[in-house]
Amino acid sequence: MADPAPAAEDLSQWTAVVTPNRGWLDLRLRQIWAYRDLIVLFFKRDFVASYKQTILGPFWFFAQPLMTSVVFWVVFGRIGKIVTKGVPQFLFFMAGIILWNFFSSCLIKTSTTFTSNSSLFGKVYFPRLTVPLSVVLTNLATFGFQFVMFLGFFAVAWWFDVPVHPNARLLVLPFLLLEIAALAVGVGCIVAAATVRYRDLAVIIQFGVQLWMYASCVVYPLSAVGPAYRGFFVLNPMVPIIESFRYGFIGYGEIHFWELALSMGMTALLLVIGVVSFSRVERTHLDSI
């Protein structure tokens, strides 16, 4: 249409303007705030439903990291002879595992947002980002239980004078958790947006996350990586996070401030890319299911 552009039309009298495309940065974050009750209710729903009608109920929160820690301890600690410089290997592994669990379950759950909620999304509108946010809450609660368990083992170790050295770096823990959540949601959203078009990504992400774990210093300390590869390893945002966490508790680990800053920068970038692509897709994903 060659109409002269209508003088910027006043749309402020309308509550909603439904158009084919929105601006790249029109993320409607205020709407998410308006739906904050929904985030809480999704969290309650997922949390309650996750242990109803299971034999052991909430026990599963502890069983999984506990058993994995034991297995890692035997396989990597005893057989593989990973060197942790006198730090109890069991605690060393458990610290990595509970952090990694938090990250990987947030990531995987977020990445299936569109596929596992398509029937709900097809019938009612609400800001779709509420789903990843509630996923973070749910997994944060799970992490809370596992963290308490970890603290229990930690206290026992301390009591028996095992060489652990909690220190002031513990204070960054809340920020580390926030960063993990941001990274998981960012990457998860990118994958979620892409799975709408490419279904094979849903499979890739499952074992991709497993591989990522082996690149993230969960089963070995960063110091075990030779200096030649170190610069390469710290490009993985999860490495400085896990190293910092372990450093805070057991006083063993090495991470430079600039490495943590780089990790945070990358996380922020991934989060922005993720949220933008997520909100591009949320309005059309139903057309391709």
Binding site: K44, F121, V124, Y198, D200, T284, D287
Partner: protein, 431 residues
Amino acid sequence: MSTVIRVENLSKRYRLGVINRRMLYEDLQSRWARWRGKDDPNAKVDARRTTTHAELWALKDVEFEVRDGDVLGVIGHNGSGKSTLLKILSQITAPTTGRALIKGKVASLLEVGTGFHPELTGRDNVFLNGVILGMRHEEVARKFDEIVAFSGVEEFIDTPVKRYSSGMRVRLAFAVAAHLDPEILIIDEVLAVGDQSFQQKCLGKIGEVAREGRTVLFVSHNAAAVENLCDRGIVLEHGRLIFTGTQSEAIQYYVNREDHSDNSNLAERTDRSGTGDVRIVGLNLRGERGEPITTASAGRAVEIHLLFENLSGKPFPNLMATIHVRTHFDAPVFIQQNRLTGDSFGALPERGALVCRLPRLPLPASVYRVGFSLNSEGKGGQVLDSILHAVDLPVETGDFFGTGLLPPVLRGVCLVEAEWRLEAQVEAAAV
């Protein structure tokens, strides 16, 4: 009254079958090739010339306005774009072109019980469902008692929903939806569920919302509901808006547009039930003097001839023939049976016609659906042959009352004979 919904040039295109066929790997390969200026290795051979994919325009250039307080009925066949329109207005999916402007808080009810979780109790689900539909938590809490009372499942409110019957689930879900208090309410076919009395309750609630002066968009196959609840109607066909007007005009337009091909030959029909001992192979309409007709007239005689074939060799002396007439929207209008009129056919020959004569057709102009069934006995017999919707019966308006005045169109489902008079001296007590 101001405009609360303005739909401008709205279109929605679906690509058929091209989106999900690709792997990430192929897309990267194509992009890499194009970036280097080479041919796309995955392109179809003549993709350059024919750029059109299989496309479906679920909506095409739809424009209309809804004013504050309107109750708009959206009418159309399955696949006419009704649901797509509601989904765009509910912001579930984005349009391809055009836009829709909406003023006020919208609640859309495209399904009853969206987001119910079976493991949670009725109470938890009321909150979850209410908040999904856009209420605040404290708003649900405030209306909670009212919602539960409306649903009638008070006793089980702390039982997990998975133990509910489907009827109870629907009741609870509709109760939540009924208490949304939006300025604009969008409803899609939700009344197709639940029992009769509950449907009435739902319709009553929607009517109440409408009378409060709120705006309602209502999609239903229930013409009576559209007729009663709505004051305006639009008709969609193949994604295009083909009619806008009052709800009665819209229903009439929709009904008249129907394609009434000659389907009087029933021998090949497969949508039938019964033993098949006697089969109806044709259904003919005859007029006043026995002449074949395709359209019946109100107030005139019409004969419905059921041409049968009896290959069983049995006489079926107590044969019961039933003709049922339904509206275009499948609401029953009347049935007629030879048992009711006390007529019997005697021994049935191999071929012939069962004729039902209606001396003065009491139907207003519209298109009706005619079905039949044959039973071997009046009571306790077997169904020999039956087709629910055998033919369409178009009825044109006519001089039913013998006064030369035509009955008003679409005011009721039947025409009734009557006489009017004035009585001047009426004692008050007799009134």
